[in-house]
């Protein structure tokens, strides 16, 4: 299934657990596959905005505002991460969110 990131408001999967760490990174654990994934500080910001309230543009703007990156870089980073999270089943499918 293809997702139009420009209108999508991503939502974290119910099976996904996030553990924030003091160095800014985070641990994502998928209870379905019983698999843990490390995420960076930037990825953690994006993950936290996957609450069904923020769309792709708002997520990119948040990354752009917090980190010293241009819009294009922020867009690419967010796009790659969201695609990776979907591939790993860590985001709820839009139809079921």
């Amino acid at each position: 299934m293809t997702h139009d990131l420009s209108i999508d408001k991503p939502v974290r999967a119910e099976s996904a657990y996030h553990h924030a760490l003091p160095d800014g990174s985070g641990l994502l654990f998928d209870q379905t596959s019983q698999t843990a994934y490390p995420i960076t500080e930037t990825a953690r910001l994006i993950w936290e905005l996957c609450d069904g309230e923020h769309d792709f543009d708002q997520i990119v703007s948040a990354v752009e505002a917090k980190y010293d990156v241009n819009r294009e870089t922020a867009e690419n980073d967010a796009k790659l991460l969201l695609a990776d999270l979907r591939d790993k089943g860590l985001l709820a499918d839009r139809d079921t969110a």
Binding site: Y17, H19, L21, P22, D23, G24, S25, G26, L27, F29, Q31, Q34, A36, Y37, P38, I39, T40
Partner: protein
Amino acid sequence: MNFREAYRILDRRFTVETNVEKAAALIDGLYRHHRDTEQSEPTGIYRLTMQERAPDGKPVWHLHSPDGRTWSMDSAQRALYVTEATICEDVFSLLHDHYALHGALVHGPCGGLLISGVSGAGKTTLSLGLHASGMTIAGDDLALLDAATGLVGAAPRCFHLDDATVTMLRGAGLALPQDGLDYGFVVPGDLGDADQQPARVTFAFLLDTERRSQPVIEPLSQSHMAVALLKETGLSRRSNMESAIAIADMVAHCRCFRVCSGSLTDTIAAIRRIVIPSTAEA
């Protein structure tokens, strides 16, 4: 059986019986901090026997485990290795309140150092080298994370040292007992009265299998360290999710690094500069 000693490690009780005094002494050297003086009847008996095989008179060793498994071995080295590995597997699998982490525990001046990495990465060599440099090795290969306190203790294990490692460690100034080397059974107690108290791990090092001419030590995120440790974590009665949380809570107190080793001397010096900042200034 001539020699019998009962032990208790965490909630596991077991007894070792053998007809060979030297084997009894070496095994007791490993578990002596865990002697079980309260055990009235022998529990979970590991029976290690040596007999002379007819007609050539060569020794043959047999190990019988409490659950009825048996092994036959043709050397004392092999017999001790199999006995220790079998007890380790039985005692430390499916622990109730602890997670078995694949790593060596070294006590440094600022808390515990956990040296982790896949088998063959050089955990034993580096941790013994750090011991030679003035730190204290608590245990090799297996560390036990207490889920309730977050403290990490060492599981008693013998060091598996090949000739090249022994040469390297002697070069780093470590005195290894010839007796233990002859039997392939050097244990932490041979290196002094090792500190067995569980400690808060403040530094975690993940050893890469790649070797460099000079050591390369780079910061590693706590989440990457947690995932690496989780992959190397043994069985527990807790779920994987509980393991992930316990390990994440533990690394939350650590500065984490990835290590590509250079020469042993250079790698020890590089780690000491991180763990003991005054070393870097000197």
